[in-house]
């Protein structure tokens, strides 16, 4: 295991300390728990607060989505492990500004059960909470069981939409509705070509041959749907895009927002080659690209590979995607679709 770190034990805590000392003008620790990070200007007065959380090792997920027009606070677990219900409770307490809290996170059992315990704790104090759980990885369950899927890079769209709706002053119920609409119209699939190593255990997330790739692998090395010899960017893109389009049922003339996400080690150059193929393929299908994002949005430490996410958009979702969003990690200019 080759990592630039001090001790594995301190990996997450020291990374968080580095983030806070670098971005002290935007972020701060919660008062009682240094695994909770909230916006400097918390609580979120006059608007619904959005809390997220999940395991470390996925930057910019989850912490990077705390910012204006995005989430208000985050709970950070150990690498690839849920944060505790207690941290989630602390975060929600600090960001809550009277309009309730939306828990917005990816579908993993540990996180879900912890968020549910946190919810119970907050309800005991009459803090209104709702949850939207993102489950976009189409490799992990079929469309009829889409809510059992794993949550992966499509979370980007959920943060963007929920964050914009909250910033516009919408109610908790309304934010939940529109974010769930996005969640249902969201699909992601990835390809992995090399694993990462978990600092705490020194364990590789998977093994893979020198000339192999795995289509559909999850962001913790969860098994995908097919192991194959490494294919060209064109073939990989076609395999993934075709499955995404049929999953969320996009036809010619319809419009999608696209996100090409790097798993960690994959160079931006390669992501843009995939973007190029995606662009050409969608054009050939006469499907409109509303927006195209390319970069690292949900990583797995130094895993090699990428994923493509698509969200079928209508006017309501587009209006929310167009709003500005600003965190130390994620920036989207007001009015832009890019």
């Amino acid at each position: 295991m080759k990592k630039i770190m001090n001790t594995a034990d301190q990996f997450v805590d020291e990374a968080l300390e580095g983030i806070i000392c670098t971005h002290w003008d935007a972020l701060k620790f919660t008062q009682h728990d240094r695994r909770g990070v909230v916006r400097r200007r918390a609580p979120a007065k006059g608007k619904v607060a959005i809390a997220t959380g999940g395991g470390a090792g996925h930057l910019p997920l989850f912490l990077g989505y705390v910012g204006e027009g995005l989430a208000d606070g985050v709970s950070v677990g150990n690498v690839f492990t849920s944060p505790s219900a207690d941290t989630m409770y602390e975060v929600a307490r600090e960001i809550e500004g009277g309009e309730g809290v939306l828990f917005l996170y990816g579908n993993y059992f540990g996180d879900k059960m912890n968020f549910e315990v946190a919810k119970d704790m907050l309800e005991d104090e009459d803090i209104k909470t709702e949850s939207v759980i993102i489950s976009d990885d189409i490799a992990s369950a079929s469309r009829d069981k889409w809510q059992e899927r794993r949550g992966v890079a499509g979370l980007y769209f959920a943060y963007k939409i929920a964050g914009a709706a909250a910033a516009k002053g919408h109610s908790l119920k309304e934010i939940k509705r529109v974010t769930e609409k996005a969640a249902e119209n969201l699909a992601t699939m990835g390809v992995a070509i090399s694993p990462c190593t978990i600092p705490e255990s020194g364990r590789s997330t998977f093994e893979i041959g020198e000339n192999e790739m795995e289509i559909g692998m999850g962001i913790h090395g969860e098994p995908g749907i097919e192991r194959d010899t490494l294919q060209t960017a064109r073939e990989i893109t076609k395999q993934i895009v075709d499955r995404l389009l049929s999953d969320i049922n996009v036809r010619a003339e319809e419009e999608v927002a696209v996100l090409i996400n790097g798993a960690g080690a994959t160079p931006l150059e390669e992501l843009y080659i995939v973007a190029n193929e995606t662009n050409k393929l969608l054009h050939s299908y006469e499907i409109s690209i509303y927006s195209m994002k390319v970069g690292e949005y949900a990583t797995s430490l130094e895993m090699g590979g990428c994923s493509i996410s698509m969200c079928k958009v209508d006017e309501e979702l587009k209006e929310l995607l167009e709003a500005g969003a600003y965190s130390p990690f994620i920036r989207h200019e007001e009015g832009g679709s890019k």
Partner: protein
């Protein structure tokens, strides 16, 4: 105090089976079950030193477990302990059978799984039944029965497809692997049975 000694022993015991648990979890999950249990058991040990009775320990230990090791197994065990502890406090009596049954209920409520879904419940539920049936023969025999039942049932999880948890994403590929949580359940009953037997022997001698 006995509780403190017992939990300390349990912590040492868990450290010994850590790798085994990690390996079972690695085959169909993310390979951290052993780590979760070491972190959790350590928290339980610390709380056992700081609390005066078992119901308090269940509640405080559960909370500490939850903070120390908040994975699927961690939050389930923690929630179950807290629930059982609170109930015992309300009832103002210590009833081993109730504790186990409440834990199962809480795990089912939180995890929304039932028997046959390839989880620790597949060992836990039949083990508690066996414990109940044998409980008139004394706690030592009851624990022994629970342990041997849990072992047999844990091994049967090899034939199951996982319906919940990480391993459910493996589909058919989870078949053939034993569930780590179920095995942990057996190991824990075995540990308790051995401990009680040892304590009884010590009692006979003195």
């Amino acid at each position: 105090m006995t509780l403190s000694l017992l939990v300390n022993e349990y912590y040492e015991f868990i450290k010994k089976i850590k790798d085994e648990l990690n390996q079972l979890d690695a085959a169909q999950g993310d390979g951290d079950l052993g780590n979760t249990m070491v972190g959790g058991a350590k928290a339980l040990k610390v709380e056992a030193e700081n609390t005066k009775n078992i119901p308090d320990w269940l509640v405080e230990g559960g909370k500490a477990f939850r903070k120390a090791a908040p994975s699927t197994m961690g939050i389930l065990i923690a929630s179950a302990m807290i629930k059982a502890g609170k109930q015992q406090k309300e009832n103002n009596r210590l009833e081993w059978s109730d504790i186990q049954k409440t834990m199962i209920e809480e795990i089912m409520k939180r995890g929304k799984a039932s028997r046959g879904d390839k989880t620790l419940l597949d060992a836990f539920i039949p083990a508690v039944n066996a414990f109940e049936e044998a409980s008139d023969q004394g706690v030592s025999i009851a624990l022994k029965e629970a342990a041997s039942t849990a072992k047999a049932e844990a091994e049967k999880t090899k034939n199951l497809n996982a319906k919940t948890g990480r391993s459910s994403w493996m589909g058919d590929r989870a078949k053939g692997n034993m569930d780590g949580g179920a095995w942990l359940c057996y190991k824990t009953y075995q540990f308790l049975a051995d401990w009680v037997k040892y304590e009884e022997k010590k009692g006979e001698k003195s």
